[in-house]
């Protein structure tokens, strides 16, 4: 698929710049666009249940959000480090940035020593020394680093949720936790698995009252990917993310398939995890890192639909949506969303895409 097939016009003002909390409204007060082969429907997110059927299986991502954006300094001065992924043994993938709104590129080299955490760090767990190992192959803005100790307490002490330029204010970590977040493991996502942001307890209840089952996978997101720059969509490098599909969730998906019920992913992360656990016949329990890149040439085998936000032009997420529902449905849906003034990004509006 050519890169140009991911291009569409999204007016810059169609961006959600504040969370519901800051506007004094419920998270479920946003809009919901429903796209099916039969057409497109506008609704409110809190009406989600009425677009689901008894027996549908919703699969959510229970990964919590980490305070993954930390101050850092090195020979080049002060910058910020967004922590993407824990590789174990003190090795992490990170994105050094000029600031939340300026990505860089920073003049860093392999072997550079940096200090991550608060500059004034009076408490010893407020900062940690680290060394740059190597840039990520094909994505040189990302670096593997090795920390001199455990980075997690430093994150807890001095980190903030990752924020980009279109969100001007800082908000507490709680704003970045979904209702499904499992906060018991100390692990989590660099960025909120934001498809579930608009779920409130009452929406969950209304969905369950409808006879819809909800199960979870875990996929810890890394930092947002940038635009596809390669000539073809398939050449775009995607980095792996840690994921787990439990035996119970695999069983629930296989049972839904066997009885012809729909499987609906709440977010692109869930699609990535479930498709990674598919062996050609069924979903198996799985745990590890997945590099799965879901695009039309690879295809989709597990999910019948996805509930997600609205994705930027020329991103790999669009290729995933094309793989699920076809380019025509997605393009028509996005034209409808632009026409009706839907809002993009993590605090924005929602899009339920169903193939049947």
């Amino acid at each position: 698929m050519k890169r140009s097939e991911l291009i569409f016009e999204r007016p810059a003002q169609l961006a959600a710049t504040t969370p519901a909390e800051a506007r004094g409204v419920e998270r479920d007060s946003g809009r919901l666009l429903i796209s099916t082969p039969a057409g497109h429907t506008h609704a409110q997110f809190n009406e989600l249940a009425s677009f689901l059927r008894r027996g549908d299986l919703l699969v959510v991502n229970d990964s919590a959000t980490l305070p993954a954006s930390l101050p850092a300094r090195g020979a080049i001065g002060a910058f910020i480090v967004n922590i993407a992924t824990d590789y174990g043994g003190g090795t992490w993938l990170v994105e050094p940035r000029q600031s939340s709104s300026q990505p860089g590129a920073l003049p860093l080299s392999a072997g550079d020593r940096i200090v991550i955490g608060a500059d004034d760090g009076i408490a010893s767990d407020g900062r940690i020394a680290a060394r740059l190992i190597a840039p990520y192959p094909g994505l040189p803005r990302l670096w593997f680093i090795v920390a001199d100790g455990d980075l997690r307490p430093v994150m807890a002490a001095t980190g903030a949720p990752i924020r980009y330029g279109y969100v001007s204010e800082r908000y507490p970590l709680s704003v970045y936790q979904t209702v499904f977040a499992n906060r018991t493991c100390g692990c989590g996502s660099a960025e909120m698995p934001s498809a579930a942001y608009p779920f409130t307890r009452r929406v969950v209840d209304s969905v369950q009252d409808r006879g819809v089952e909800i199960v979870a996978i875990t996929l810890h997101t890394g930092v947002s990917s940038l635009e596809v720059e390669s000539e073809t969509v398939e050449q775009h490098p995607l980095y792996p993310e840690p994921f787990a599909v439990s035996a119970a969730t695999a069983q629930a998906v296989n049972t839904a398939h066997a009885s012809g019920r729909r499987v609906i992913a709440i977010g692109t992360t869930v699609v990535r995890a479930l498709e990674s656990a598919w062996d050609g016949n069924e979903v198996h329990p799985a745990r590890g890192f997945t590099r799965a890149y879901i695009h039309p040439a690879r295809g989709v085998h597990v999910v019948d639909g996805v509930l997600t936000g609205l994705h930027d032009p020329v991103t790999s997420h669009l290729a995933m949506l094309y793989a699920i529902a076809g380019q025509d449905v997605i393009r028509a849906g996005y034209a409808e969303a632009v026409r009706a003034g839907y809002l993009w990004h993590e605090f924005g509006d929602s899009h339920l895409i169903m193939t049947r």
């Binding site: 993938l93 060394r131 190992i133 980095y239 792996p240 787990a244 590099r291 799965a292």
Partner: protein, 246 residues
């Protein structure tokens, strides 16, 4: 201060071996590196010096028992081994002949380089690995399974190495062993296998770095006996261990 970690890498003068050496040095390992090309090996050592760890570079032929012993002596001086990477290997006869016409003297020599030498090195490295609950990585190939015409010599040495790895893993006591198929890469060996092809569309060996970062970060008993594809769609432990989170 933490005890320093050590790694021994064969075939470290170029390609995948050199990339692995740089990554492990970057992670803070002290290294013993070896290859047959003295100048290239020296150049790699110079590049790694910037990471600040100790780098011992010993030129030699892996089929020479005295050379293998010298490598293990160097590792012993570092205090033990956390990682042994058997990366050095030969392609065998080129252009790749069908098995029907494979020169048997070349095949015997290929088994010496690709099978006997890595096993021999692992045998004498075991005491050092056992001190550190160390990891043996034997670099394998897609050719070990493919049955591709022309690849019978090289592929069969790697298939045998895979079984050696799995058996070492099943016999493991205080160490772990894995096979890794790095996948297609733009390397000197790949070009030698396809002398008339343009291989510039193949990724450089750096493409495997995320895999190595993952592998080295895993609990050793969780990956023991695994056969991994560095460019495959997912990497999973082969068994659950209780202290692991996602």
């Amino acid at each position: 201060m933490r005890e320093n970690k050590n790694a021994l890498i064969t075939g470290a003068s170029r390609g995948l071996g050199a990339v692995l050496a740089a990554f492990l040095a970057g992670q803070g390992h002290d290294l013993v590196i070896t290859a047959r090309g003295a100048n290239e090996l020296k150049a790699v050592r110079t590049r790694l010096a910037g990471f600040g760890g100790a780098v011992t570079a010993i030129e030699g032929d892996m089929t020479d028992p005295a050379h293998r012993a010298a490598l293990i002596d160097a590792a012993a001086r570092l205090g033990g081994l956390d990682i042994l990477i058997n990366n050095a290997s030969d392609l065998g006869a080129t252009p790749l002949p069908p098995l029907a016409a494979y020169p048997l003297d070349i095949l015997r020599r290929l088994y010496e380089v690709n099978l006997i030498a890595p096993l021999a090195l692992a045998q004498i490295a075991l005491p050092l690995l056992q001190k550190r609950n160390g990891l043996i990585v034997n670099v394998s190939s897609d050719a070990a399974k493919g049955g591709y015409p022309g690849w019978g010599g090289y592929g069969s040495t790697k298939a045998a190495l895979d079984l050696v790895t799995l058996t070492l893993a099943n016999e493991a006591d205080g160490y772990a062993a894995v096979s890794v198929d790095p996948g297609d890469m733009r390397t000197v060996m790949h070009q030698a296998a396809f002398p008339d092809d343009d291989i510039s569309d193949r990724p450089l060996p750096e493409v495997t770095l995320p895999f190595w970062a993952w592998l080295f970060g895993q609990n050793r008993s969780a990956i023991n006996g695994g056969r991994y594809g560095a460019q495959s769609e997912k990497w999973q432990p082969v068994r659950e261990v209780t202290d692991e989170t996602v």
